[in-house]
C-alpha cells in the first residue's frame, strides 16, 4: 500500500524541513531578534496598530507583539520538542515493538493503547495535567499523543512480510526480528514519525494553554498569547493574528516535513 512519494510530495517535504530549520534559527536568535525582553510591558502605547516602530503592533499592556511572538514561539517549540520525544519513545517505539511481541502481550498492549486512543487526545492531556501540574504540560501532551503514535507504528509493521515469514520458517527469534525492525524500518521513518508527532503535540500544547492548562506566565507560549488577545482582538486584530500565524506556520511546516498521508497524497 505504501506508494513512493511523488516529486510534488518530495518538494512539499523539503519545504517543510526548510521551514522547520528557519523556525529553529528564529527561535535560537529570538533574544537577539526581539526588540524587547519577554513580557516587557509599556514598550509602546496600548493597542497600537502595526507600524515601523512595532511591525506587529502592540497589545493591551503595550507589549511589542513581534517580540512576544518570537519569545512565545521559542517556548512553544521547546515544549513541543520535549512532548515529541515522549510521544515517539512511548508511542512510536512501543508500537513497533508490540507488533513483534508474543500474541497475549501484544493484545494487552493494543487494548490498553486502544482504550486511550478512543479518548480525544486533548481531553486526555487535560486530565493528565489536572492530576499532576501545569508544569508538566509538555509531558502531558506527549503522553496524550502517544496512543496515536502507538497505533500508527503498530499498523506500519507488516507481521506477514516475506522476511518475517522466512525468519519464522528458519527459527530466527522474534527478538532478532525486532532488532532488525528497529535498526532499519523504525530508524528510517524516525524523522517522519517525529515531524508528525511535532505537529500533533504543538496543536495539543497550544490548545491546552488557550484553555488555561498550559504554560504559566511570565513564560507565555503562543496559545496563551492568543488566549490573552481574545479580549482585544475584535478591535485590534494584530494582537491575535500574528501569534496565530506563527503557530499555524510551525504546525504546517511539521506536517509538510512528515510527508503527505495516504489520504493527503496529491
Amino acid at each position: 500500500m505504501s506508494a513512493r512519494p511523488s516529486a510534488f510530495g518530495g518538494t512539499l517535504r523539503a519545504i517543510g524541513w526548510i521551514g522547520l530549520g528557519l523556525t529553529a534559527v528564529a527561535v535560537a536568535l529570538s533574544d537577539f531578534l526581539a526588540r524587547a525582553p519577554a513580557g516587557a510591558t509599556g514598550v509602546g502605547p496600548m493597542l497600537e496598530a502595526p507600524s515601523e516602530a512595532h511591525p506587529f503592533g502592540t497589545d493591551l499592556l503595550g507589549r511589542d507583539v513581534l517580540s512576544e511572538a518570537l519569545h512565545g514561539l521559542s517556548v512553544t517549540l521547546g515544549d513541543a520538542l520535549l512532548a515529541t520525544l515522549v510521544a515517539v519513545l512511548l508511542g512510536g517505539l512501543a508500537g513497533a515493538m508490540a507488533a513483534r511481541l508474543p500474541n497475549p502481550m501484544s493484545a494487552v498492549l493494543r487494548w490498553l493503547f486502544g482504550v486511550l486512543a478512543a479518548i480525544p487526545a486533548l481531553l486526555l492531556a487535560i486530565v493528565i495535567i489536572g492530576l499532576t501540574a501545569r508544569d508538566y504540560a509538555a509531558l502531558a501532551a506527549g503522553l496524550a499523543a502517544a496512543p496515536f503514535a502507538f497505533v500508527r507504528a503498530f499498523d506500519k509493521v507488516d507481521v506477514k512480510s516475506t522476511h518475517a515469514e522466512y525468519a519464522r520458517a528458519t527459527g530466527i527469534s522474534s527478538t532478532t526480528l525486532l532488532k532488525r525492525d528497529l535498526t532499519y524500518e523504525f530508524r528510517d521513518t524516525l524523522a517522519q514519525t517525529a515531524a508528525r508527532a511535532l505537529a500533533a503535540v504543538t496543536i495539543i500544547l497550544s490548545t491546552l494553554s488557550f484553555l488555561g492548562f498550559g504554560s504559566i506566565p511570565p513564560g507565555r507560549d503562543l496559545g496563551l498569547m492568543i488566549a490573552a488577545a481574545k479580549a482585544s482582538y475584535l478591535s485590534a486584530w494584530w494582537t491575535a493574528a500574528f501569534p496565530a500565524l506563527a503557530l499555524v506556520a510551525l504546525i504546517l511546516f511539521a506536517r509538510l516535513a512528515a510527508g503527505l498521508d495516504e489520504g493527503e497524497r496529491a
Binding site: 478512543a118 486533548l122 495535567i129 482582538y233 489520504g263 496529491a266
Partner: protein, 292 residues
C-alpha cells in the same frame, strides 16, 4: 457477517470496560494515598460504576449522572449539527477536488485546514461574524440564555452558527482525510483492471464499485470523525461560552471535581467506541468485507 459482528461487539465491550476502568482510576485519585489503598479504592469504584452508580459532583452535590444528563444534550446538538456541516462540506469538497490538478490544490488546502488549531478557527469565524456580518458574538461574554442550535430565531442562529461551523470545520478535515484515504486505497484495487477488461465503462466502475468502497471507508472512519468532533466541541464551547458537557469537563478538571470529569471522559469514550462499532458494521454490510 455474524463472525465479524461478534468480533466487533466483543471489541466494543472490552473497549467500554477499559474506558470504565480508566474513569474509575481517575475518580479515586484524590481519595486514596499509597498504592495499596489506591488499588482497593479503584476496585470498589469500578464495582459501583458497573452498578451504574457514578457518585456525586463535588461542586454541586448533584448525582454526576444527573449533572451530565443536564449538560449532554447541548453538546450532542453541537456535535450533531457540526457533524452535518462536516459531512456536507467534506463530501462536496471531495467531489469538487476529486482528480487531476484540483486534487493537488485540495491536498494543500487540506494541509492548511489540518494545521489550523480549532481555537484559531473559532476565533477567525467569530471575528468574521462580528466584523463583516455585524452578528452578535459571545467570545468575551457568557450568554445568560444560551441560544438553541436548532432554533428558527435568526438571532439565535447568528449566535450559534460560528460555534457549529467551528466544530463542522474540524469534522470536515477528518471527513476529507477519511474519504481521500479510502479513494487512495480503492485506486490501487486490482478489480479496476479486471472490470475494464470485462467491458465496463469508467463511469460504471466508479458508480457501482468505487463509490461503495469509498463510502465504506468513510463509515469505517466514523470513530475517528466522532473523536475530532468531540474534541472540537470542547474548544468551541469554551471559545463561544456555550454551557455543555464539554465545557463542564474543562471546569470539572480545573476545579478538581474528579467524579464529574471521569464520567464525562467515559461518556465521550463510549460515543467514540459506539461510532467505531456502528461504522465498521455498516461498512461491512455495504461491501461485504472488513474495511481496515
Amino acid at each position: 457477517m455474524v463472525d465479524f459482528a461478534l468480533r466487533q461487539a466483543g471489541r466494543f465491550a472490552f473497549g467500554l470496560l477499559g474506558a470504565l476502568a480508566a474513569a474509575a482510576a481517575i475518580s479515586v485519585v484524590p481519595e486514596a494515598h499509597g498504592f495499596g489503598p489506591y488499588l482497593e479504592a479503584w476496585g470498589l469504584r469500578l464495582l459501583s460504576f458497573l452498578e451504574f452508580d457514578f457518585g456525586k459532583s463535588a461542586l454541586t452535590g448533584m448525582a454526576a449522572a444527573q449533572e451530565i444528563a443536564a449538560h449532554l444534550p447541548a453538546t450532542l446538538a453541537l456535535v450533531t449539527a457540526g457533524g452535518g456541516v462536516a459531512l456536507i462540506a467534506g463530501v462536496l469538497l471531495s467531489l469538487l477536488f476529486a482528480t487531476g490538478a484540483p486534487r493537488r490544490v485540495a491536498s494543500l488546502l487540506l494541509l492548511l485546514l489540518a494545521a489550523l488549531p480549532v481555537f484559531c478557527a473559532g476565533l477567525i469565524l467569530a471575528y468574521g461574524a462580528a466584523k463583516w456580518l455585524a452578528w452578535p458574538v459571545s467570545v468575551n461574554a457568557r450568554m445568560t440564555e444560551p441560544a438553541s442550535i436548532f432554533s428558527a430565531d435568526p438571532k439565535a442562529l447568528q449566535l450559534t452558527l460560528p460555534a457549529v461551523l467551528t466544530v463542522g470545520l474540524a469534522g470536515a478535515a477528518a471527513v476529507q482525510l477519511a474519504l481521500r484515504r479510502a479513494t487512495a486505497a480503492s485506486a490501487e484495487q486490482r478489480f479496476r483492471t479486471g472490470l475494464k477488461r470485462l467491458g465496463l465503462s469508467q463511469i460504471e466502475i466508479e458508480r457501482f464499485y468505487v463509490v461503495p468502497q469509498v463510502a465504506a471507508g468513510l463509515l469505517a472512519s466514523a470513530g475517528e470523525i466522532v473523536r475530532a468532533l468531540l474534541a472540537a466541541a470542547v474548544v468551541a464551547e469554551w471559545v463561544f461560552h456555550r454551557p455543555g458537557a464539554a465545557d463542564l469537563f474543562v471546569k470539572s478538571v480545573a476545579l478538581r471535581d474528579w467524579n464529574m470529569a471521569a464520567l464525562i471522559l467515559f461518556v465521550f469514550a463510549a460515543f467514540s467506541f459506539l461510532a467505531d462499532l456502528l461504522g465498521r458494521l455498516s461498512a461491512f454490510a455495504l461491501v461485504g468485507e472488513a474495511v481496515p
